[in-house]
């Protein structure tokens, strides 16, 4: 304690006789307010936390002028009051053994509730991510996650009701209402899936994966959105395939044959597979479907001179399409004439039961009947030359050339590797010169230079459109017209061919030396624009559209600039930071951890940011910009995407942020997230008050005896948090009797570094804290209960819930390190603070940033934040708890200095240095 620090200026400090065990000091302030001269008097009982390392976590203030502006929104106080009032619910007295049993039962429900909460929050994060990450997902994902989520929330309500001896049953109403709405959202899709049996290629795009399968959806995208030439044709959809199978009641028989199939017995596998395929191939097509297919075929037949031939291409739906190894497994039939179209269609549908496909699905747990075989029926191109085009070398996503394989005739021969072919490397940059050609083809039949250039243009265009290197099948017909037959993401497997091209890997010879290098890629891509350094909120308003955002720290609040920025360079930060997430969502290239960025990059000078490589160049570097591939979200706007968006509106918004609000009650729950929040909050309150409610001394709070700490830390044992030799009658406990690993880890972090002493505080900073205090009614001892002034640990061996008032802010740390990963998590909530709003925000940002660096998923809402990590192993989580322990103690001073960004930065550096030291120190347990 360093009372002298205050005495010098406008405060006088003196010692007072300690009440009981507490040492205390009394401070009197004279403070001039801008508006009026008011004299406040406060007493601090040891408690001036900002200035005392081991001071209690509560501040007791006495003021003369406390009641003027009741601060209605103090959550934390009500949180404690809630706990307190539940003390007075009377309960029948039970015998000790009955009490023990009742308690164990409550604890069991509590633990189950926490696990359900953990699962629910993870599912919500996963759904939000699916929406923003631009990866493809189908209705099965939406339906499955909504179901899993509602099941977990049902469990939470169920366990809370039991925990609270039958109260909170009214939660059932909002829960039913929300799940009903969700069901309606999901059901709205089911009607759509019974869509057309046949779709013309003119109507297909990437959003129709659910109807036409991925291969045809991409081809439709190439045709209708990119505007490249593809063969005319139509898709026989998933709906049609389902009708076909159902009309013949084939699924039962197929499942019967698959029963008991031993996958390791290859002979049996092939026999069963062949049997099922012939079963499907020999079943009659429903007449209406056959007619529809032939009618569409008729429409393609526009040339009376020649017989129309089509290609039938499989486009499977319902499997994990990102698995490249599965590509090409299904059949394609070429040169099919009219009378064989129905039969060829059936055979491709039957190809679903090829033996590799059976094995693949079974190992992955897919049901065969959930996979649908869509079939594209496309006019054959009279190809003179065909081949495969990679928009990049398969082993080098940065290669400056496309790779073309070409062979006379049909593309399939190249894919099969059956024809003598040639391979070309063609520059991606106009005019696309051929860099290298290795030809096994006859003279005069190989690809011309203009053809090679056209293919390179197409490769670059499709890669840009799909946002990733592409593997493209193509043909050039007799008229010299280029047709795209297929475009799919290029897998980065190292094939023979890739190794070959690796010898000619692009060099960076043609690039200038970078201004800066060594940063971490937080969001891929390349961007170019003038530098604009943002240091404060004032700079936010002046940020010009099209500039490169250069910052010291990736505060979440800078995210509002990302729709105007072309790239981000930050001196510090990790890819897990919120700003990085948002940058990826917007597709804005971002480099974090770029040292000396602020010192090196001059405002308004033009730079090129190569985020993928973590480098910054002066000026405009065209070769790099040519590499830039903005990643559009192709799911956006599709029916499934819309449904997920609608579903999430009932799931993720959090309205119940404030346990003190009059709306923090069952009928205030509008979303599933609200329900999780409410259940968790009330469950903790129930466990907290059990000992008192039941007069159960064993489970009542014990005061933690810590040397040299006048702070009051209280511990409630939930199960096995105390050593067996601890005397349950005792009112005090010391650390040696605490078995709780998470509590010990937090404690270790709290004590790991001595607090460096009071920061030099400007009068403005200190004054603003005091001014807040006067308006804060829970600082009035008349309002505060004795209980509210303490810090509580609720513990078991594997669990810890610590609620803390540190100075004027409220923090909650909760962790479970169970037997199973499903149960593991660390969560942290932090709110409030005495300084003015600006300082509070700066502090929250600092904490968010630090936690982001340690892989927490951080959400910040005004001056409240939550941070979570789920389903990680115990040693990893214990480390995070130690970090939280450290932050609890060491950030409480930060308010005071936050107005000065230079100092904030130096504190931040010290904190990070301390934390890294802490993580290198072996944990004592």
């Amino acid at each position: 304690m360093r009372p002298g620090r205050f005495a010098s200026r406008d405060a006088r400090v003196w010692k007072e006789t300690p009440p009981r065990r507490k040492k205390s000091i009394r401070v009197e302030f004279t403070r001039s307010c801008a508006s009026a001269h008011v004299r406040y008097r406060f007493s601090f009982f040891t408690a001036f936390l900002f200035y005392s390392l081991d001071g209690p976590a509560s501040v007791m203030l006495k003021g003369n002028d406390l009641s003027e502006q009741p601060n209605a929104g103090d959550q934390n106080m009500t949180f404690f009051l809630d706990r307190l009032t539940s003390l007075f619910r009377t309960k029948p007295r039970l015998k000790p053994t009955e009490l023990q049993a009742a308690f164990r039962a409550h604890y069991k429900d509590f633990r189950a509730l926490l696990t359900a909460n953990n699962n629910a929050l993870e599912l919500m994060a996963e759904m939000e991510q699916a929406l923003t990450a631009g990866r493809s997902f189908g209705m099965a994902f939406v339906r499955g996650n909504c179901t899993a989520l509602s099941v977990n929330i049902y469990k939470m309500i169920h366990h809370l009701t039991r925990l609270a001896d039958g109260r909170y049953t009214e939660l059932d109403q909002p829960f039913r209402a929300i799940t009903r709405q969700l069901e309606q959202v999901i059901a709205s899709r089911s009607a759509n899936t019974e869509g057309a049996a046949i779709l013309s290629m003119a109507e297909v795009d990437a959003g129709m994966v659910d109807q036409v399968g991925e291969k045809m959806a991409n081809l439709g995208e190439v045709r209708n959105r990119v505007g490249l030439r593809t063969p005319d044709g139509f898709v026989i959809t998933a709906t049609a395939a389902r009708h076909f199978i159902e009309a013949n009641a084939l699924q039962v028989e197929i499942n019967r044959r698959l029963k008991g199939l031993d996958l390791d017995n290859l002979e049996e596998l092939y026999t069963v597979s062949a049997g099922i395929q012939s079963l499907i191939s020999n079943a009659p097509l429903p007449a209406a479907l056959a007619e529809a297919i032939l009618a569409h075929h008729q429409q393609l037949d526009t040339n009376p001179e020649a017989e129309l031939l089509v290609a039938l291409r499989s486009s499977a739906l319902g499997e994990d399409s990102s698995n490249v190894s599965f590509a090409g497994q299904y059949r394609t039939q070429l040169n099919v004439s009219r009378e064989f179209v129905p039969q060829a269609y059936k055979e491709i549908v039957a190809g679903k039961y090829k033996s590799q496909a059976i094995v693949y699905r079974q190992q992955r747990g897919f049901r065969h009947q959930d996979v649908h075989m869509c079939v594209g029926c496309l006019r054959m191109v009279e190809a003179t030359i065909s081949g495969v085009l990679y928009s990049r070398a398969p082993d080098d996503p940065r290669s400056p050339f496309v790779i073309i394989q070409a062979a006379p005739g049909l593309a399939a021969s190249v894919v099969d590797g059956s024809a003598s072919s040639e391979q070309l490397r063609v520059s991606r940059t106009p005019p696309h010169p051929i860099v290298h050609r290795a030809s096994g083809m006859e003279q005069g039949r190989s690809l011309t230079e203009p053809q090679a250039a056209e293919l390179a243009t197409v490769g670059v265009l499709l890669e840009e459109h799909f946002g990733a290197p592409q593997d493209i099948e193509w043909s050039i017909d007799r008229a010299g017209l280029l047709y795209i037959l297929q475009s799919r993401p290029l897998g980065h497997s190292v094939s023979e061919e890739a190794q070959e091209s690796g010898k000619h890997r692009a060099t960076t010879n043609d690039l200038p030396g970078p201004l800066l290098a060594g940063g971490v890629c937080a969001s891929q891509g390349v961007g170019c624009g003038p530098v604009f350094t943002v240091r404060s909120s004032l700079d936010l308003l002046r940020f010009p559209r099209g500039a490169v955002l250069v910052i010291e720290t990736p505060y979440p609040d800078w995210a509002s600039l990302l729709n105007r920025a072309v790239a981000v360079v930050s001196e510090t930060g990790q890819p897990a930071a919120h700003l990085a997430t948002v940058a990826r969502e917007f597709g804005i290239p971002a480099i974090f951890g770029m040292h000396r960025a602020l010192a090196t990059l001059e405002n308004s000078s033009l730079i090129t940011v190569d985020a993928t490589a973590g480098k910054v160049y002066a000026g405009r570097v065209e070769p790099l910009l040519a590499l830039a591939a903005p990643k559009p979200n192709l799911m956006a706007g599709s029916p499934v995407y819309k449904i997920l968006t609608q579903a999430l509106a009932h799931i993720t918004p959090l309205n119940l942020t404030d346990p003190a609000s009059p709306f923090f009650r069952p009928d205030g729950c509008q979303t599933l997230h609200d329900l999780t929040r409410f259940c968790h909050e009330k469950a903790v309150v129930e466990m907290f008050t059990f000992g008192e409610r039941y007069g159960f001394d064993d489970k009542a709070a014990k005061q933690l005896v810590v040397e040299n700490s006048p702070a009051q830390w209280w511990v409630i044992d939930l199960d096995d948090g105390f050593t067996p030799d601890f005397d349950p009658e005792s009112r005090y406990i010391d650390l040696n009797h605490i078995t709780s690993a998470p509590m010990q880890a937090i404690w270790q972090g709290m004590l790991a570094f001595p607090w460096a002493g009071p920061p030099p505080v400007s009068l403005g900073g200190f004054g603003s804290i005091i001014f807040q205090s006067t308006r804060n009614p829970n600082l009035d001892p008349a309002v505060r209960s004795a209980m509210a002034a303490k810090n509580y640990f609720l513990i078991s061996r594997n669990f810890c819930n610590l609620s803390v008032r540190l100075g004027y802010h409220f923090a909650l740390v909760e962790a479970n390190l169970g037997e199973y990963l499903t149960e593991n998590y660390v969560s942290f909530q932090f709110k409030g603070g005495a300084a003015d709003e600006n300082r509070r925000l700066l502090r929250i940002r600092l904490i968010s940033k630090i936690l982001g660096e340690f892989d927490f998923r951080v959400e910040q809402k005004v001056d409240a934040m939550t941070a979570r990590i789920e389903k990680k192993p115990a040693p990893y989580l214990l480390e995070r708890l130690t970090i939280l322990g450290y932050l609890l103690i060491h950030t409480r001073q930060i308010d005071m200095i936050m107005a000065d960004e230079g100092m904030a930065a130096s504190y931040q550096q010290k904190i990070m240095a301390d934390l890294h030291t802490l993580m290198d120190t072996p944990t004592e347990r």
């Binding site: 099941v151 039991r162 799940t179 008991g260």
Partner: protein
Amino acid sequence: MTQPLNILLIDDEIDFVETTGKRLARRGYSAKTALTCAEGMAIIATGWPEVVVLDVMLPDRDGMDCLREIKEKWPTLPVILLTGHASMETGLHGLESGASDYCLKPIDLETLVEKIAIAHRESRAPRS
């Protein structure tokens, strides 16, 4: 971490139950499989299973009926529902009828094993 639990898989997708049964056995669990509810009930009646994993769709009867009967006769036996068809309605009915959990296929074995172990542990502890 793994206890040598006795697990009964009731599911008519024989390929799935057999593969899963083998993989559970490799992890030190004892697994038996039943393709119908009736077959499953007969095994439960011997007192052998400690956890039941039940498919919602069975050939001989509705899996939910099967669940209700199991919970009626053996209320403390934990039953995990596993299905290929996600349905919020079925999921919630399942829990109301006493299922310990409701999971969707495909499920990786790691997750299933944890769910089995947790369901078993919860069934041991007292109820409030």
